[in-house]
């Protein structure tokens, strides 16, 4: 990813209030689809999927009065581009402390783009066991035309048609100064 400073923001498509509402809606849709929080296992994909997953967990607990299971997946070791990214990316820990067998896994990520991250997360999940079902929740879906694999999201905060020359950044207080979602232009090469 290019240096953050060299990016110019074209438009802000979500501020923190809209992001909060989108997360609430994702949480409601997840419990509606699965008829409650029983066996629901919310798994955040590092890095920005993790705080989003935590917020969805809190919201579900609020709606249902029952805490869904929570875990974290780091896909670094399952990437398909290790030989082309240039140097070893930093490995972080996967934390799936509760057995995933027969659970309803809801993978959570910030942006769905090519689908390759989700492929890596699915492969990793299968190494951990046999979930009853795997669903995907994303805050932003960049649209099917960018997909490089047959992967779609079950729960979407907002669909944003984008060009390849654009970058979507989900900014979260855990990592950034502000909260929100912006469209940035890649610097021309």
């Amino acid at each position: 990813m290019p240096d953050e400073k060299s990016l110019t923001e074209k438009s802000r498509i979500m501020d923190s209030a809209r992001m909060k509402r989108a997360i609430s809606r994702l949480a409601s849709e997840i419990v509606e689809e699965n008829q409650g929080a029983k066996d629901v296992y919310i798994v955040g994909i590092r890095r920005r999927g993790v705080p989003l997953a935590e917020r969805i967990v809190d919201k579900i607990a609020e709606i249902e009065g029952e805490m869904p299971l929570f875990g974290i997946i780091d896909i670094t070791l399952y990437r398909d581009d290790l030989s082309t990214v240039g140097a070893s990316p930093i490995v972080n820990r996967t934390e799936l402390d509760t057995d995933i067998d027969d659970k309803i896994i809801v993978l959570v990520d910030d942006v769905l783009y090519t689908g390759r991250t989700i492929r890596a997360a699915l492969d990793q999940l299968m190494d951990f066991g046999r979930p009853r079902k795997v669903q995907l929740a994303v805050l932003i879906d960049r649209g099917r035309e960018h997909r490089e694999l047959p992967i779609q999201a079950d729960f979407v905060g907002k669909t944003v048609p984008t060009k390849q020359s654009e970058i979507i950044r989900v900014m979260l207080k855990e990592y950034d100064e502000v909260e929100g979602v912006g469209i940035f232009e890649k610097p021309s090469e």
Partner: protein, 315 residues
């Protein structure tokens, strides 16, 4: 993004910066979880080849590297070269070039002579990892020792570490001294005068003391690291008998009393029970010898990952 470790080869701890060392240890920390899974395998190094080229006998280190490679889905080939087969006449460089022609991604090498991995690294396109070269270095051992210390003491900075025994012949001691002093620990070495050269303190610029008696080194230590008596490397009589060595330098409960109450005991193995370490110390809860072995696999996974990850794309 900040890369934790830029060198492809791991030849010694001496060549690494403090940040490199921390990067490897942090990566290894995150690999531990894989070794606790039911399916202890990730696809990361699929299609990569690791050659374990061992010119010296080794069970633990070779197995550890082999498991590390396999748990990352690399293909591991073990070559044990006894000195007799080298005497067919092939030079080390030719051996290396021949192996390199088979296009491995990483060569893990152990050799009885110091500097062999460095030689190999010069001629080979594969990344070279030193698994022990003569009395020079054994970097992955020092890294797994550091990981064990960090796990139990939460830090390395400011710790007092005693290293006791055959310092002269020990690559483990050298790698540990480099690593521990780079991370801010104070190291004290002790052993028979014949096996602890007085000018050893010049190995590093700061943080190393040579003690005249074992008791001085152990006094108040947070970590006591016992070295194996390496009879196979001793070409002369450095001490009269093993019994005498054990009486004067062996780690017993009595001697360990001098260390801090929560001191931990490390040994790189294989240990000579009753010689450099008494059985009751070796089997006590303070002894972390099996933890060291356990962390060894995670450390070697991290080293192989950092040595080979992304290398196919260029640079």
């Amino acid at each position: 993004m900040e890369k934790p470790y830029r060198r492809r080869d791991l030849l010694g701890i001496r060549e690494l910066t403090e940040a490199d060392i921390r990067g490897i240890l942090d990566t290894a920390e995150n690999f531990r979880e894989i070794n606790a899974r039911e399916i202890k395998k990730v696809p990361t190094l699929r299609g990569k080849t690791v050659i374990n080229l061992f010119f010296e006998n080794s069970t633990r280190t070779r197995t550890s590297f082999e498991l590390a490679a396999k748990r990352l889905s690399a293909d591991a080939v073990n070559i044990s070269v006894s000195s007799s087969s080298v005497s067919k006449g092939e030079t080390l460089v030719d051996t290396a070039l021949n192996l390199d022609a088979m296009q491995p991604d990483c060569i893990v090498v152990r050799h009885g002579s110091a500097g062999v991995p460095h030689q190999l690294a010069k001629v080979s396109r594969a990344a070279v990892v030193n698994a022990g070269d003569g009395a020079n270095e054994h970097p992955t051992q020092a890294l797994l020792d550091a990981m064990t210390i960090r796990e139990h003491k939460k830090k390395i900075q400011g710790l007092e570490v005693a290293i006791v025994g055959d310092i002269l012949h020990s690559r483990v001691a050298r790698s540990n001294i480099h690593l521990l002093t780079k991370l801010g620990a104070k190291v004290r070495v002790a052993g028979p005068g014949t096996l602890v050269p007085g000018d050893f303190r010049h190995l590093v610029s700061d943080g190393l003391t040579v003690c005249p008696h074992v008791e001085d080194a152990i006094e108040g230590a947070d970590v006591v690291m016992i070295l194996r008596i390496q009879r196979e490397r001793q070409d002369a009589a450095y001490f009269p008998t093993l019994r005498e060595y054990s009486i004067h330098y062996g780690l017993t409960n009595d001697r360990l009393e001098r260390a801090k109450k929560d001191a931990i005991v490390l040994h790189p193995g294989p240990m000579n029970r009753g010689i450099e370490i008494s059985s009751d110390v070796a089997d006590s809860s303070r002894s972390l010898i099996l933890d060291q072995v356990k962390y060894g696999v995670a450390v070697r996974m991290a080293v192989l990952y950092l040595a080979t990850g992304g290398s196919a794309g260029g640079s």
